[in-house]
């Protein structure tokens, strides 16, 4: 619980600093920090014995995991659309960032409308925050179902938390889910708003 509060605190301080001082960590620097993080997680996963054969064995799990994450997200986005001033297509489209808010927000703003782009941005920010908040608790019920909530961020922002809350094997599945979803997000959004 302390970990989550510290993480939210770090984000809140960042928002405060960005808003009050106008200081922004450049996107290139964020990319480099992301690279450092996934590098470190790579080292961490790699030092497990016989990891390559485990990836092969886990391929079925990684694919089913990703499909279930997409299915669950779209099905419940469809339900959510009945409570929102948006069509089914708009709501599913906004949810198709799977937590990757920067890309989904920008893409939807350009392909469809700035308003929905902003909604998508915020809903994916919230998805990431909700996942940070609840993943440690949900992981006690079922680790892989908890990993689904992280969506595409399972390979970066949430990866540290996932590696703390789940087994090494499930951390690997989470990373696989993040990689596949990150590849699919631009394709899915293009397809939905074509």
């Amino acid at each position: 619980m302390i970990d989550i509060l510290i993480m939210i605190g770090a984000l809140a301080i960042g928002i405060g600093v960005g808003n009050l001082s106008g200081f922004v960590v450049p996107p290139q620097v964020i990319t480099v920090i992301l690279m450092i993080l996934v590098f470190l997680v790579g080292v961490d996963i790699g030092r497990e014995e016989n990891i390559l054969s485990k990836i092969k064995i886990n391929m079925n799990r990684i694919l089913s995991q990703t499909l279930l994450t997409i299915g669950g997200t779209f099905l419940f986005a469809l339900v959510a659309s009945f409570f929102l001033p948006f069509s089914i297509k708009e709501t599913i489209g906004a949810s198709a960032g799977f937590g990757w808010y920067s890309l989904s927000g920008i893409m939807i703003s350009q392909l469809y409308s700035p308003l929905l782009g902003t909604v998508s941005f915020l809903s994916n920010v919230f998805r990431e925050l909700l996942s940070i908040l609840f993943l440690p608790f949900l992981a006690k019920i079922n680790q892989r179902a908890a990993i689904s909530t992280a969506g595409a961020t399972a390979m970066d922002v949430l990866l540290g938390l996932i590696s703390k809350s789940t087994s090494r094997k499930n951390t690997l599945i989470a990373f696989g889910q993040g990689v596949i979803l990150s590849l699919l997000v631009p394709l899915l959004i293009s397809f939905i708003f074509m």
Partner: protein, 95 residues
């Protein structure tokens, strides 16, 4: 796309070095949580600096929150449901 490739390359490099049993000291100094905090702070500055986002937080924030709550619940419940119903097809049974 380039960013994704860079990240994948960083992961592959880390994985390779990990497989070669290099850099084992990194596990001892618990550096992953620290880097995660730096990343969250950095993303916060991006959000806080964008006046458009800060202004819209109240008005459309609720709609966005609903979508997030539904999709987080949905991805958890649907995954849980299928793992329990089809444990062999999803690989959940051989844990």
């Amino acid at each position: 796309m380039i960013m994704l490739l860079l990240i994948l390359a960083a992961f592959a490099t880390g994985l390779f070095l990990g497989l070669k049993k290099r850099l084992r000291f990194l596990a001892k100094i618990k550096i992953i949580p620290i880097v995660t905090l730096v990343l969250l702070f950095s993303m916060g500055t991006e959000i806080g600096q964008s006046q458009e986002i800060m202004d819209h937080l109240g008005t459309i924030g609720w709609n966005a929150f609903l979508i997030a709550a539904f999709t987080v619940a949905g991805s958890f419940l649907v995954t849980l449901f299928f793992l329990k119903i089809f444990p062999s097809k999803t690989g959940e049974s051989d844990d």
